[in-house]
Symmetry: C2
Subunit: 140 residues, 2 copies
DNA sequence: TTGTATGCAAAGCGTTTGCAGTGAT
DNA sequence: ATCACTGCAAACGCTTTGCATACAA
């Protein structure tokens, strides 16, 4: 039977609290603030468990390591800024895409990622970047 | 200056000839039919070079290792069958998705993946699976 | 001849797993 | 007292890199 541990709650909380999809390392860092001794293996094991029980969703962007986010956000998509690399949630959705599939195919789900520039990274009339908008990732 | 080698052509040909995005291992296997001694490191090095020169595109599906396909196919998307795991090209496109982005964001590109069942894997009135449609991948 | 490209093997990185100890029930 | 969970370290699989050799130019 499944047990409730401090580390499991810390991991779940970290993901729930984040406003964006987290990398395993980021989950570790966040959860370690509650449980200092937490190990990365436990993060991975719980990430997998949370995926299986459907509490967490895998977010895989091209060329990026897998991120994890709570399912609670409902159906949504992602936007990656080509300048700063940050990933944002996009709550809009193109809707039914069944018509796009070849004849005989059945569409039951879809994933969409938008690329471009976020509000902070518009060219020309440069805006003041928000704190933490430093480029931490790069896209080939 | 960039040189033309047998292995480079073999790798490029393998990707061009494939009707679907290939994994590095699949590129290796295909290219080795032309250049038996070919090593995996050379495949990776050329894959990166082809990406840089824009001859090849990276295809990253959630939970899958990166695949590579020629850019020649033009703008298109992908469909992954949840039963057999195969990835198909989808040449339809939802069109302009700028309206989906949050205000202040600029959309310059998008990626879309459809999930469902391919023609070979429709339930109930089971069709005869095509040769090679054996499940070779699985999706968590 | 010159220096890029290759093949091999070692190194990197993110992720998974074996195992003995810990702690929730 | 059980036995699932944890932490550590070793193992893994994919990708990258160092280095001596091979081969375009």
């Amino acid at each position: 039977m499944e047990r409730s541990t401090r580390q499991r709650s810390a991991i779940r909380d970290a993901i729930e609290a984040a406003q964006r999809p987290l990398l395993p390392q980021e989950v570790l860092a966040a959860a370690q603030q509650q449980v200092p001794g937490l190990g990365i293996a436990t993060v991975y094991r719980n990430l997998k468990a949370l995926l299986d029980e459907g509490a967490v969703k895998l977010v895989a962007l091209p060329g990026e390591n897998p991120r994890y986010e709570p399912v609670g956000h409902g159906h949504h998509h992602h936007f990656q800024c080509q300048a700063c690399g940050r990933v944002f949630d996009v709550h809009a959705c193109p809707g039914d895409l069944s018509r796009l599939a070849p004849p005989g195919f059945t569409v039951s789900d879809h994933e969409l990622t938008l690329y471009g520039r976020c509000a902070d990274c518009q060219p020309a009339m440069a805006r003041t970047p928000s704190p933490g908008s430093t480029n931490r990732q790069r896209r080939a």
